[in-house]
């Protein structure tokens, strides 16, 4: 048996071991728990205008679509409702119809994490680090802090799994791009189509996800501006792909503006940040906000009471001008924006476990949970350690002149910047449920913490590339010799 075959068998064995862990230490896949938002995904299902309202309704598009596609003949029945804010955290139970969603979310996560594990395995050269990298990815993905979300009937689980798939495809794509340079292969096009389709689905699972695309577009622009990289890029394809991303960006923004998804978060920000501060309130008043005694009385009210929806003239103004006024407020008050992000950062990193149901310690053991918690640190220092590791990785990749590693290092930089951007927007976008809303950005930062060590050591000790032609040899293979 060849060395490569042994390694593949080894990876399969590792994946089976981790799958056994996933199925042994968690409750059956048909169990679930619902949140207050779950009902919103099921309301639209029976209506005749489902497709016309799919992108503009007050529901996350992808999640609603998944619920529609998997809907059983009898429909969904929410029988196990959780409300962490009221300390209601029931154990998992079978909810009619939602068992399909729970199973779908679990299988999607399993496929996504195994894909990422495989991609990491493929793109490391040192056999020991291949297994170390794949193990860290799979253990991270199947730890309770991630896997337990698969049982929660909200947008987070699908969003996380799609991000993992997107990351896996991104790594493959940048390595292929570094190899093929000006003449992309057919495989590159296939992966690009897959990437774009997954990106569409991912962007429409959570509104803040779209901001990663902005950073990716900025990275493309920088690559085009730098002459040395421009000469090696397939410019026409890159511009076409950028146009598609821009289209997606505008589409997502249009969908958000047409829907009323942002109204509730606006009021959360309004009550938490604007109302208590006369200067900030004056800014909104100047924009036309009707500041009456009734509106002032909202100060200090519970965010979950939704009392503001009973003030019609306020809701009318917010629906008409609220979004643009708040954007202008952020732009004209950068100090406040930065201070708000910094003030909430520690809290955003402060929890890594889903709050919707209580773990069954007989199934998901305390020790397993403890190791999962080590992999999902609740300290903001991970941001700085991840950044330090990325700097080291970039430095080593440049020194080593390895095109594929440079591409992966660049990808890590772009994703980290994108995650920081998503993180800031999540905090500024909604003053409520900050931990849950920032999870889409914090989870990838935690993942990077463990992804980077194998890549750093692999780059530091892999054969040094001496000329650009070697960049055509990905995954440790040498280019084929031309026939004389």
């Amino acid at each position: 048996m060849k060395k490569n075959q042994v390694q593949v068998v080894g990876f399969v064995f590792l994946a089976i071991l981790m799958l056994w862990m996933r199925f042994s230490f968690y409750e059956p896949l048909d169990r679930s728990v619902s949140g207050h938002d779950t009902e919103r995904y099921t309301v639209l299902l029976g209506t005749p205008n489902f497709w016309s309202e799919l992108f503009t309704s007050n529901r996350q598009t992808t999640t609603t679509l998944v619920y529609r596609l998997l809907a059983p003949p009898g429909g969904y029945e929410i029988t196990n409702l959780s409300s962490p804010g009221d300390f209601v955290q029931p154990p998992l139970a079978i909810q009619p119809g939602l068992d399909r969603i729970s199973a779908f979310q679990s299988w999607l996560a399993i496929v996504a994490w195994v894909c990422l594990g495989l991609v990491v395995f493929r793109n490391l050269q040192n056999p020991a680090f291949k297994f170390l990298g794949a193990f860290l990815v799979l253990f991270f993905g199947f730890s309770p802090q991630i896997a337990q979300w698969d049982y929660v009937m909200l947008t987070e689980p699908v969003s996380m799994s799609l991000f993992v798939l997107l990351l896996a495809l991104s790594v493959e794509l940048v390595v292929l791009a570094a190899r093929d340079q000006k003449s992309p292969s057919a495989l590159t096009y296939v992966l690009l189509v897959a990437w774009f389709l997954i990106a569409i689905a991912w962007v429409f699972t959570r509104d803040t996800n779209v901001y990663l695309l902005l950073v990716i577009l900025a990275a493309f622009a920088i690559l085009v501006l730098i002459r040395s990289s421009r000469e090696r890029l397939p410019l026409r394809q890159l511009l076409f792909f950028s146009a598609l991303l821009l289209l997606l960006l505008f589409g997502a923004n249009y969908s958000l503006q047409r829907s009323a998804r942002w109204v509730n978060p606006f009021f959360n920000n309004f009550i938490t940040h604007i109302l208590p501060n006369p200067e900030y309130l004056a800014f909104f008043e100047a924009k036309g906000l009707p500041v009456t005694d009734e509106v002032r009385a909202l100060e200090g009210t519970s965010l979950s009471s939704l009392a503001y929806f009973e003030i019609d003239y306020l809701v009318d103004w917010v629906e008409e001008h609220g979004s643009s006024a708040y954007m202008q407020f952020i732009i004209t008050h950068p100090g406040w924006a930065i201070q708000t992000v910094l003030a909430n950062s520690e809290a955003a990193f402060g929890e890594s476990t889903q709050p919707f149901f209580e773990r069954n310690p007989d199934v998901t053991l305390d020790s397993f949970f403890y190791f999962g918690r080590l992999m999902h640190p609740v300290h903001i220092s991970i941001l700085f350690i991840t950044a330090a590791q990325i700097v080291l990785f970039v430095n080593l990749a440049i020194k080593n002149k390895d095109q594929s590693k440079k591409a992966i290092a660049g990808l890590f930089v772009v994703f980290l910047l994108g995650e920081i951007f998503m993180f800031a927007i999540s905090i500024l976008g909604d003053a409520s449920s900050i931990v849950r809303h920032t999870m889409g950005a914090v989870m990838p930062m935690r993942l990077s913490l463990w992804l980077l060590p194998p890549f750093i050591l692999d780059t530091a000790f892999s054969p040094q590339k001496d000329d650009r032609k070697d960049a055509k040899a990905p995954h440790g293979r040498m280019p084929k010799k031309k026939r004389s």
Partner: protein
């Protein structure tokens, strides 16, 4: 910030694998000795992580043996071998270290665990509790002190020697600093887990790794360039 222990474990384990990978084709005892040092350190971190969850007798014994007794000694001997290779005295010292390690293994295996369920605190550092946790006898304690002294003196002594020989500059300081940071919790056992404690646990092996990298000549194998091929 206990996750830094896990990160230290990942790095130590990976570096140990790396040293063994380089040692086998080169048949280098020095590299293999450093590999053992990092492997012992990794075992120590793993034991610390387990003990951070609950009192585990096996983990306590492994921690004492790997981290408390042997790790620094193997690092020091690795540096001796790399700076003064093929010296008869050091070869004998190496044999002595292997024997002492097995002797230590026997002693630690025979050591009784005290009735610690009542007072053991997973949230506190194991460094401050291991002395009361294991009912070590005098030979065990003296062996641990002797081995640590041997390793520490070898590390610092060799680093100073290299500095005087002007063979290296900053790397010698990295070794000295790494040795001090590794020995520090054994001497002044911290009782409270602080961010600084975790950060130093991660930094110590990295400093030693960076410091010894050049001495051990663990260079990246370069692919042959056209020019080099033509020259050959």
């Amino acid at each position: 910030m206990a996750y830094l222990l896990l990160l230290a474990l990942v790095y130590s384990f990976a570096i140990a694998l790396l040293f063994f990978q380089f040692a086998i084709p080169k048949k280098s005892t020095a590299l293999a000795t450093f590999g053992v040092g990092f492997a012992l350190l990794a075992i120590g971190y793993a034991a610390q992580i387990v003990l951070g969850f609950e009192l585990n007798e096996g983990a306590a014994r492994f921690f004492y043996l790997a981290r408390w007794m042997l790790a620094i000694a193997w690092f020091g001997h690795g540096l001796l071998l790399s700076v003064v290779p093929d010296h008869k005295l050091i070869t004998w010292a190496g044999r002595g270290l292997v024997l002492a390690s097995f002797f230590g293994l026997g002693l630690v295996a025979l050591t009784q665990i005290t009735n610690a369920e009542d007072w053991f605190q997973p949230a506190s550092t194991i460094y401050s509790q291991i002395g009361d946790l294991l009912a070590t006898n005098r030979p065990t304690r003296w062996l641990a002190i002797l081995l640590n002294l041997y390793g520490f003196v070898a590390l610092v002594g060799m680093a100073i020697y290299m500095l005087l020989q002007r063979q290296t500059g900053s790397r010698a300081f990295l070794i000295i600093l790494g040795a001090i940071l590794m020995a520090n919790p054994l001497v002044w056992s911290p009782s409270v887990e602080s961010p600084a404690f975790y950060a130093l646990e991660l930094i110590a092996p990295i400093l030693l790794f960076l410091g010894t990298l050049k001495f051990l000549q663990v260079d990246r194998p370069r692919q042959k360039t056209k020019r080099r091929r033509a020259a050959a």
